[in-house]
């Protein structure tokens, strides 16, 4: 009997290689699980939209929260992005290239990259974390079960309005962020390096393609879809009380930022070749 107990308590003889493969297998399984659940959620949202089960009032409420309430922080972020790009670009350009190229640099940086990505990252913190925590709390306090028990569809009432609002709000915010970022960048170039408005705009127009704007807005639409989708998905998977809500929210923020950066890296080969 004693011998049996000793055997039972002995550490598993699994080799590091097996553990390494097991770790990868687990990560692969979890990734597939998330991908499958996200695909299913997307399908359910599409179905509820097509069947007109999403209330206009719920979408407007979410648009207010995501769009209007996010505006101040988006404006601050865009202004700072414009200033920093202008100052650092000026530092690089001043002794090597014509000064009007600063206009090119600021406009291209803001429209192609900083406008969509920084706005999306701001929304991850402000909206994504909030949605995950809100829905996670509803799960652990059985409010989602209550929803279902009353014959209501959580996807049509809670998920779809947030995703629709994200797809609409983020491009609008990115449009505003682009304009503010470029304008503040132009002012900063003038104050910092004495670059006139005409010179700045000449440089901006020199390498401008309308496609760039389409590219930036395409990113915004995709990011606007992905942020609420992941945050809803993670929120609805919450388990384990207050600690579970905290853990899920942290994981959701990491998941969203990582996804945004991966998607951001896939855009150039897809759309700028």
């Amino acid at each position: 009997m004693t011998v049996d107990r000793q055997h039972a308590a002995a550490p598993s003889p699994t080799s590091p290689i097996v553990r390494w493969f097991a770790g990868w297998g687990r990560a692969y399984r979890i990734t597939l699980e998330h991908a499958g659940a996200l695909g299913l959620l997307t399908w359910q949202i599409l179905v509820s939209v097509v069947r007109l089960r999403v209330r206009f009032r719920d979408v407007m409420t979410q648009l207010y929260v995501m769009g209007i309430q996010s505006l101040p922080i988006v404006l601050v972020t865009a202004s700072l992005a414009g200033i920093v790009t202008s100052q650092q670009g000026g530092y690089q350009i001043v002794s090597t290239s014509p000064r009007y190229l600063l206009g090119t640099l600021v406009v291209q940086s803001v429209v192609l990259e900083l406008g969509p990505l920084l706005t999306a990252i701001v929304l991850v913190g402000r909206i994504g974390a909030r949605i995950t925590a809100e829905l996670g709390t509803m799960v652990v306090s059985e409010q989602i079960d209550a929803f279902k028990s009353l014959g209501r569809d959580p996807v049509a009432v809670l998920a779809a309005p947030r995703v629709i609002a994200g797809v609409i709000a983020l491009p609008l915010l990115v449009g505003i962020a682009d304009m503010v970022g470029i304008y503040v960048g132009m002012v900063a170039a003038n104050l910092d390096g004495g670059l006139g408005r005409e010179e700045f705009l000449y440089g901006a127009r020199l390498f401008w393609h309308s496609w760039d704007l389409f590219y930036g807005f395409s990113k915004a639409v995709v990011f606007g879809f992905v942020i609420p989708l992941i945050s809803v998905h993670m929120g609805l998977r919450t388990a384990g009380g207050a600690e579970g809500v905290g853990l899920t929210t942290t994981n959701a923020v990491m998941f969203m930022i990582l996804t945004l950066l991966i998607l951001d890296a896939t855009f150039p080969p897809l759309m700028l070749q």
Binding site: E142, D145, A146, L150, G151
Partner: protein, 255 residues
């Protein structure tokens, strides 16, 4: 009539190991058992909030899990569910919380005045003063009031089945007795089939026509309250004695 046929469910470990039980139409049935034995899980399988790994649940002869989404929707319309901690929607006031209990199709047919009347009547029915609570949000209510609003939400749609998940948990003995009287009165007045999951053995024995005890994921006992009181099964006896001791301790602490 609610029929559970060999319901099995596992999470990290097996919780229900093949539960079969029938609750007759109009009957009031209490389900006892130690914590973690799957009472709430079994209750949730009734309306698809937890899906069994194996087995089925039938409501009036219609399968919940093999009848498609239509069957599940129909079951949810028939049933009112009272959650352990009320599960009121935080962002909605009492009026909107209770009005959510009206089926969507019915809600569309009712005028705003009719909805307000239904909500008002049902709040009075659970012994709340509608003019005092209607505009309050859940965080402004006491524990007992939240439970009553939860009950109002469950009955406003005039269900045929009421599922009660630990409705007296977290309440003091006075509120517990008041809620139990309310459960008993509503079940009789509304002529519903009631399945009550509770820790309060004495309350369940007084209110219900039949009782059952879940232990280790299986039904250890099913019978009348009198049979339960006289049951010689040592596991049942140990559970009853433990519950009686805890109830006595609660009463002393409250005094």
């Amino acid at each position: 009539m609610i029929t559970y046929r060999g319901v099995r469910k596992s999470f990290d470990r097996p919780v229900l190991r093949g539960v079969s039980l029938t609750v007759e139409t109009g009957e009031m049935f209490a389900l006892f058992g130690p914590s973690g034995t799957g009472k709430s899980v079994l209750l949730k399988t009734t309306i698809g909030l937890v899906v069994p790994d194996l087995g089925d649940v039938e409501i009036d002869g219609v399968s919940v899990y093999h009848g498609g989404k239509g069957a599940l929707d129909a079951v949810r319309k028939k049933a009112g569910y009272v959650f352990q901690y009320a599960a009121l929607f935080d962002s909605l006031n009492v009026f909107d919380n209770v009005a959510m209990g009206l089926p969507e199709a019915e809600m569309a047919k009712l005028s705003k005045g009719d909805v307000a009347r239904r909500v008002w009547d049902v709040l009075e029915n659970v012994n709340l003063e509608p003019h005092e609570v209607l505009s309050k949000i859940p965080s402004e209510l006491s524990g007992g009031m939240k439970k009553r609003v939860g009950i109002a939400r469950a009955i406003v749609g005039r269900p045929e089945i009421l599922l009660w998940d630990e409705p007296t948990t977290g309440l003091d003995p006075i509120n517990t007795a008041a809620i139990e009287r309310l459960i008993h009165r509503l079940s009789a007045e509304l002529e519903v089939t009631s399945l009550l999951v509770t820790h309060d053995v004495e309350g369940g024995l007084q209110m219900c026509d039949r009782v059952g005890m879940l232990e280790g994921g299986t039904l250890r006992f099913v019978g009348t309250p009198a049979e339960f009181r006289n049951c010689a099964d040592p596991v049942v006896r140990a559970f009853v004695d433990r519950q009686a001791a805890e109830a006595a301790l609660d009463t002393v602490e409250t005094r």
